[in-house]
Assembly symmetry: C2
Homo-oligomer: 332 residues x 2
């Protein structure tokens, strides 16, 4: 058995600020009163959805730096990625900042992957202040991964709704009492799911793998966490995860919640809830971070999952490999 | 001025082995006698070019581990990415290994980005053995980024030819006398080039930025390096880089060479030479690594560049943002 998927950050890198923005549909829900900017227009004044997505991500990065009372020149590195082909939202957002840029991709687990890398760099003393950020947009994701919106395709009941929003976190060597204490890097897990509308079922096994590995590596139990929060499994995927971990003798029923399941108020066309890299980026960096600041939450395991497919891999008959990267965020 | 783009790895992580594979056209050139496997069939027995690309990358990772006389279970992490949408070659290759996977994307600078992250993790003691790998395939890149091959489009003289090949490096805390001593992480640089057939011109300013930053941060001069090797600027891009650095008072004329410029024997349809993430992955991990082992090269600055565009960004009128990540590889 591999024993070192989990890194303990002895220097306890801190999350000193976050910055978030979300679309109108998202802001009708729980995150509405916590985000820095609630969009009324999901095109954000741009001519295309892709440009709107990039502008949201740029905003989230800027706002994160501003909320930390810092300036661009104080930031040593930007770690970002997104769902668009060639992570153009992140790359074009990074163009606006005079900061070294590390492009990452792990689909909807980009937020936790980015936080993990940022914390790893801070902990090692390679950098003092790193911004990790990501986002997504319903309309750009739909037309890239599925169908043009104009087609008005029917959505199956297991489908989720890509979140329009972006979020960032500024991780530093000092400056707050909220720390990233551990990162657990996931392995690719593929249970053979081929239904591209059933991401929750595809990703749940990856979440189980990383969460259980994290608990074993740290000697902790689910009860050691106030919350074990996944990124965008959705309602169905969250239920599958609870069952899958329970089968392995780990009971997370009481304290597991999924960002996708809680982000929308009204269960309507979004069916199983929210998805996309922006889903956990918005929820964790607004609502959850606020609860941590208020000490209503003391210790959270943030385990975002990603479905590593493309339209080409699906078109060539492949199943959906998934991954989950987790970070432990704690009041210290 | 930012002062800390460059990390010095005091523990000197070692490259203990590499693994490479390349297509028939590539193996007619300088890398032919150094790669572990020279393909006769660029489909590698697969039904699609994308599957062939993934199989090459999987081979490169396996071969790297084998060449290090190690087994999969000895590897703590895989850092990989590629040019295909949603980095499916890397993700699907990672599925075959029971190893934590860090997905990265910086287009054709993925090899140096991966080596830099791997070295950073080893140097900090987070891992003992990490594989960094990437690859590309002419035919999958053509149909994703440009036109279907069946169209038989004419190529302009400034065009390059995407390398069919993959390479990996195993970076460890000990085990050889070839070390990664520094990493310089690049910023996104955009000089407003919009011609997607002129990547060399688009990427050269990013290479200049990172190379000059590296020299300043380390207090070194070009003469301190036997070779300053870029990834896939091509013949024209390489000339532009020499001019651009010279303008800034840094003369790299004598010791700069580009992997894309040297990979092909015959200047024919590939015009400016090779490109793609696989270009530097193959050249550096075969030919260059061999020269380092034989001590014909003692100190190399490997500065691969990436063009961070997509067909969507170009279609929406955007220019081409570029990046360059550099690692110093030395006999110690």
């Amino acid at each position: 058995m591999r024993s070192r998927q989990t890194i303990e950050f002895v220097n306890k890198p801190r999350i000193i600020a976050t910055g978030t923005i979300a679309g109108p549909k998202e802001c009708a829900g729980v995150v509405g009163k916590y985000v820095d900017k609630a969009l009324l227009d999901d095109k954000f004044g741009e001519s295309t959805y892709e440009k709107a997505e990039c502008k949201m991500l740029t905003f989230a990065i800027s706002q994160t730096i501003e909320n930390a009372a810092l300036q661009e020149k104080d930031v040593d590195m930007l770690v970002s990625g997104d769902l668009l082909n060639q992570i153009i939202s992140a790359s074009f957002a990074a163009r606006d900042f005079d900061v070294p840029f590390l492009g990452v991709y792990s689909a909807c687990s980009t937020m936790s992957e980015g936080m993990a890398i940022a914390a790893a760099f801070i902990n090692a003393g390679y950098a003092k202040r790193v911004v990790a950020a990501t986002g997504s947009h319903f309309s750009s994701a739909e037309r890239q991964y599925r169908y043009p919106l104009e087609l008005g395709n029917t959505r199956p009941p297991q489908a989720q709704w890509t979140v329009t929003g972006a979020g960032g976190a500024l991780i530093a060597d000092t400056g707050s009492d909220i720390a990233i204490t551990h990162a657990t890097f996931g392995k690719v897990v593929d249970f053979g799911i081929t239904d591209v509308n059933n991401m929750g079922a595809a990703m749940a096994p990856a979440a189980r793998d990383t969460i259980i590995r994290h608990l074993k590596d740290t000697g902790r139990t689910p009860d050691d966490y106030d919350l074990i929060i996944t990124g965008d499994l959705g309602a169905l995927g969250s239920r599958i995860l609870k069952d899958l971990t329970w089968e392995k003798g780990v009971d997370i029923q009481k304290n597991h919640v999924d960002c996708g399941e809680i982000i929308y108020n009204v269960i309507e066309k979004e069916f199983q809830g929210g998805s996309g890299a922006g889903c956990s980026a918005v929820v964790v960096n607004s609502y959850i971070f606020e609860q941590l600041k208020r000490r209503k939450l003391r210790r959270v395991l943030f385990a975002a999952t990603g479905a590593l497919l493309s339209t080409v891999s699906s078109g060539q008959g492949e199943s959906i490999p998934c991954i989950c990267h987790a970070v432990a965020i704690e009041n210290v």
